[in-house]
């Protein structure tokens, strides 16, 4: 893995480049500069607590009162990012191995890795619990938030062939965590060689034509291009499709897929046996990079893309794969393609082409001549004028709908949900004991969970939207997950501590609402709403929503059985299920 040293020095050049481009569309200044007490000029100054709250909703799993205060005191978004870049990664496998303590004669997991398979049904929950704990408590919030975004681009899932391999899934997620700020090419390599992806997209044990099947499996060849790097159509640097005679131009055709499929032959897991039936037979094989068995690799020449790029005959498995991934990582489509997807995951569903282009430029060159530096890309995304001031400068279109998972991570973080000890069981047999939220997901249809998409196309595709928006070319992908039952109900179940709701049985996520309850007890409803607005909606709570909630509070203040805490819970529930909260901006 290439180590990015002195990354920060490189950024100075990046600032100049970005400034040179003129910033936002409306000619707005690209940042607020101000002098701190120490006399240092801050390029990305924090203008207000609300702005800080909005920033944290993009860069973390949800703003908390403490983190908002800290960021305001820090006064500098860039400084906050630099701190985050230095934060040691929280690895999910390490979490699982350290926390899961064997009970009733069961050994600790870390000493008996084969129990991952033996108890795979139960340990599926460990993958889930690790994710929730790290999302809520992890100090490396930015890294985890980016890893989550990547998990929705470079998708594997519990649904499908990985169902009974929780260790493979956790190990894969750690790849995303490890490489979240690394180069995209390194990430793509680590993803490609990981056995979880190999199994999920069926190229583990993929053999050259005539040895096992009549042709190599084309699954990964297709998706690594369509979904992980270059997309279907030629793109301008600003992410818009390049049209010829009014029509989009495909970047590749079926012949390219067949050529690319030959590249991804010869890999199997580290047990070294090529039979897929024999695969995944050990914890080590499920969690270590795949290896090549050269006799199954297609060594013939591969001609890729219409431009006639070539992987010459005679190459070995890894050499060919590395060459092909390098071609994909350096393809002109990849910078705008990946940049736009990451912007959509973190900031806004409909970025302006200029915003995409500014980020794509950083993707192409981080200022030190390095390509695909994800740390620099993430920084460019979060510090862009359109991210920091989109709500003001592009009010008609700026923002993204929150995903169900992010509602809950935010709720748990902001109100310090208390977890508890639970015992993981297989059937009636107790296996492991550890602290967790024991939170099952978001509703009857379980519409979203960590690594639980139904297909490699994720929970939603980047251009999805309800018809009224779609017909105008406006995307609102996350709304695919709304309108199904679950989010509001589960939120209210947690807020009101009603565990009779599906998925909340034995949940441990008690919200700490002392301050909110005290304000409600004193009938200081306006102040309570200000507080909730600051933490949850970053100052975007509308006058109408505010008034509706206030009238409710006033009308019911003296209801029988109404306590300060109950009122606080009602008001919190109304804010978090409001459209004002749904749209992150």
């Amino acid at each position: 893995m290439k180590r990015m040293t002195s990354r920060f020095a490189g950024w100075v050049t990046v600032f100049l480049l970005m400034t040179g481009c003129g910033g936002g569309e409306g000619g707005e200044v690209s940042s607020v500069e101000k002098e701190t007490d120490s006399g240092r000029t801050v390029r990305y100054a924090v203008a207000s607590a609300n702005e800080a709250s909005a920033f944290l909703s993009r860069a973390t799993f949800g703003a908390t009162p403490e983190e908002i205060d800290r960021l305001v005191r820090l006064g500098d978004y860039d400084l906050w990012l630099q701190e985050q870049f230095q934060e040691p990664p929280s690895y999910h496998m390490a979490w699982a191995e350290e926390r899961a303590e064997g009970v009733g004669g069961v050994d600790d997991l870390k000493d008996h890795p084969e129990d991952w398979k033996r108890f795979s049904d139960a340990l599926g929950y460990l993958q889930r619990d690790a994710w929730w704990d790290i999302a809520v408590h992890g100090k490396d919030q930015l890294r985890q938030r980016v890893a989550f975004a990547l998990s929705e681009i470079l998708v594997i899932s519990r649904n499908g062939p990985l169902l009974t391999y929780p260790d493979a899934r956790i190990s894969y997620y750690d790849v995303l965590v490890r490489h979240a700020f690394d180069s995209y090419e390194e990430l793509l390599k680590a993803v490609t060689y990981h056995p979880a992806m190999g199994k999920y997209l069926s190229y583990l044990g993929n053999a050259k034509a005539g040895t096992r099947g009549a042709h190599p499996d084309e699954n990964y060849a297709r998706e690594v291009m369509q979904l992980f790097s270059i997309g279907l159509y030629r793109l301008d640097r600003d992410g818009r499709r390049l049209l010829r005679d009014g029509r989009p131009q495909p970047v590749y055709d079926q012949k390219d897929i067949e050529q690319m499929a030959k590249i991804f032959t010869g890999l199997t897991d580290d047990n070294g046996q090529f039979e897929t039936e024999a695969s995944f037979s050990s914890h080590h094989a499920r969690t270590s990079a795949m290896v090549a068995v050269e006799e199954y690799h297609d060594r013939s020449e591969k001609r890729l893309f219409s431009e006639g790029r070539l992987v010459p005959a005679g190459g070995d498995t890894k050499g060919d794969i590395d060459k092909a991934l390098h071609m994909l990582a350096t393809h002109p489509n990849t910078a705008p393609f990946v940049s736009r997807r990451l912007i959509q995951r973190l900031v806004t569903s409909n970025p302006s082409p200029a915003y995409v282009e500014r980020v794509a430029e950083v993707f192409e060159d981080n200022g030190k001549g390095e390509r695909g530096d994800l740390g620099a890309v993430v920084r460019a995304i979060l510090l862009d004028d359109e991210a920091l001031h989109g709500a003001r400068n592009r009010p008609e279109i700026f923002g993204k709908f929150r995903e169900p998972l992010l509602y809950f991570t935010h709720l748990f973080r902001a109100f310090h949900a208390q977890d508890g000890y639970h015992i993981l069981r297989q059937g009636d047999t107790p296996l492991y004991r550890y602290r967790s939220f024991n939170f099952n997901g978001t509703g009857y249809t379980r519409q979203e969970g960590p690594l639980e998409a139904l297909t490699v196309f994720n929970y939603f595709t980047p251009e999805d939207a309800p018809y009224t928006l779609k017909k105008e070319g406006i995307a609102a992908p996350e709304l695919e997950l709304y309108g199904k039952q679950g989010i509001d109900e589960v939120l209210m179940g947690i807020i009101h501590k009603n565990d009779s709701i599906y998925g909340l049985f034995e949940i441990s996520a008690d919200l700490q609402l002392e301050k909110e309850s005290a304000l409600a007890s004193g009938k200081r409803y306006g102040e309570l709403l200000d507080r909730l607005d600051g933490i949850l909606t970053a100052g975007h709570l509308s006058a109408s929503t505010r008034e509706a909630i206030l009238s409710y509070a006033r009308a019911h203040a003296s209801d029988e059985g109404m306590s300060g805490e109950k009122m606080a819970r009602h008001m919190l529930g109304l804010v978090i299920t409001s459209p004002d909260y749904a749209l992150q901006r």
């Binding site: 649904n159 499908g160 062939p161 199994k199 069926s202 044990g205 993929n206 096992r212 099947g213 009549a214 042709h215 190599p216 499996d217 084309e218 699954n219 989009p248 079926q254 897929t276 409909n350 009010p395 008609e396 279109i397 923002g399 709908f401 249809t445 139904l454 297909t455 196309f457 595709t461 999805d464 309800p466 018809y467 009224t468 779609k470 017909k471 105008e472 406006i474 609102a476 709304l479 709304y482 309108g483 199904k484 039952q485 109900e489 009779s500 509308s542 109408s544 929503t545 509706a548 909630i549 009238s551 409710y552 019911h556 529930g573 109304l574 409001s578 459209p579 004002d580 749209l583 901006r585």
Partner: protein, 461 residues
């Protein structure tokens, strides 16, 4: 069903390419203009089962006749199903085509039985086409092909849009709904399989049901969610969403509007599931991805059982069901076919119990077929594929269209994929024609239908 002037207006408008109707007008209009007497005797529903991922139907229907089985075996290699295990059926259509014997997988007993009872038909090698196309034309470079063949999302989208040539933003089921209910019926398009392009864009959005919708008590507890609005918090919730419809942010305004419509639904929902029928034949299957097919079809059956409770008693309903997990790169489809067959069988039983077999037609579609030859343990994305149509109004026990020869050098094969010999439009228009659309309307729903010789495949009675 009476034709209204509005349907003609719709046709004029769609001919001019102006498919959008005023959403405000639609909201104000009442769907109750169809009187009950009219609808009671003329109810028809179509149930679309999407086999998501690209179902390998070539391993569900296997030629068993001498050379054709040998061809199949040679091309399918390790994936080939043993001839002796197949549930055989013979077939010869009126024109004497397809005079060969076929078999279904051994775990497809229910579908086999329905085929033999002439309640299930097979539509051969159907797919997305811009115009009639042969493998030879493609090899010679003269063919116009649909965009992004073999990619899941684009091919599935073409099926949902019902047109591989012209761009559309509305799905074909939405266009159909707007013909029958020009002012919109909230109960025409119903999905139990999630949001989908097929039903997207009608005057009234498709109604999404899940299991929870049948017993909305927990939602009522807080007065939140789609089934609520009458509870005490629910009132506040309504005020909040109504006000936000006017928000300057277009995403916000659209979302608030959508929610307001959902919140108004409780009044309509009251009593909707009174007298709902329970069924016991549906199972949940094993190793399912997503909501099991059996649960979805059971919910469709339940909704059908209370269709008289629906406001306005719409005489036409289109259901969407999504059966995930057919992208079998790494396996054959044995585990899925048995469950598909059992679920379809249970649904047919439910229709029979309700006396609805003649009024409800179920049909399948999929992203695409699969490659002929295996890649090892599974198959890759293909193109043409067979589809199933089930119901009492189906002229079952027959194969429609032309069965391809499963050989790499078959005249229908292009680079290991089957070039469709029947356009999806011919297949879908036959179903929508039975649903009640006129020839003129079919051309409006499927603008590229006229590019293909067959307008009606005659599998519907």
């Amino acid at each position: 069903m009476k034709k209204s002037l509005n349907r003609r207006e719709f046709l004029k408008r769609s001919a001019a390419g102006l498919l959008s109707l005023s959403p405000l007008g639609a909201m104000l209009a009442s769907p109750e203009r169809l009187d009950a007497a009219q609808t009671a005797g003329d109810y028809r529903a179509i149930v679309c089962v999407l086999l998501e991922g690209g179902a390998d139907v070539f391993n569900m229907i296997v030629p068993t006749y001498r050379e054709s089985y040998d061809d199949y075996r040679a091309v399918r290699k390790g994936l080939a199903v043993e001839r002796e295990s197949l549930l055989g059926f013979t077939h010869a259509d009126a024109a004497g085509r397809n005079p060969l014997a076929y078999g279904m997988r051994s775990n497809m007993g229910r579908m086999h039985e329905l085929f033999e009872k002439k309640r299930l038909a097979l539509v051969a090698n159907v797919g997305t086409l811009v115009r009639p196309t042969t493998a030879e034309e493609i090899r010679e470079g003269g063919a116009v092909l649909p965009n992004q063949l073999f990619a899941h999302n684009t091919q599935r989208d073409l099926w949902m849009l019902g047109d591989a040539k012209n761009p559309h933003k509305m799905g074909w089921a939405a266009r159909t709904a707007d013909l029958f209910f020009p002012e919109g019926s909230p109960w025409c398009n119903i999905t139990v399989g999630g949001n989908n392009l097929m039903q997207l864009g009608a005057v009234k959005e498709a109604v999404a049901f899940s299991d929870a919708a049948v017993s909305p008590d927990t939602m009522r507890y807080y007065g939140f969610g789609p089934e609520a609005g009458s509870g005490e918090l629910g009132g506040v919730y309504q005020d909040i969403y109504e006000a936000m419809r006017g928000d300057g942010n277009r995403l916000m305004a659209a979302f608030a509007q959508k929610r307001v419509e959902e919140l108004r639904r409780p009044d309509l929902l009251a009593g909707l599931f009174d007298g709902v029928r329970e069924f016991d034949g549906f199972s949940t299957g094993v190793h399912e991805t997503g909501v099991p097919l059996g649960k979805q079809l059971e919910l469709v059956a339940k909704i059908l059982s209370v269709r008289e409770n629906f406001p306005g008693r719409p005489a036409r309903q289109i259901f969407f069901v999504n059966h995930h997990g057919w992208d079998t790169h790494d396996s054959d489809n044995a585990h899925q076919t048995g469950y598909l067959s059992d679920s379809l069988g249970a649904f047919y039983d439910a229709l029979e119990e309700m006396g609805l077999t003649e009024r409800v037609t179920l049909f399948t579609l999929s992203d695409f077929g699969r490659s002929l030859s295996p890649n090892g343990a599974g198959t890759d994305h293909g193109w043409g594929s067979h589809a199933f149509v089930m119901g009492g109004a189906v002229k079952g026990g027959d194969i429609y269209g032309r069965m391809p020869e499963l050989r790499p050098d078959s005249p229908d094969a292009w680079s290991d994929r089957m070039v469709p010999t029947t356009a999806m439009e011919s297949y879908l228009a036959t179903i929508v024609g039975w649903f009640g659309a006129t020839e003129e309307e079919l051309d409006a729903i499927f603008p590229n239908l006229r590019s293909f010789g067959t307008r009606n495949m005659d599998f519907m009675g």
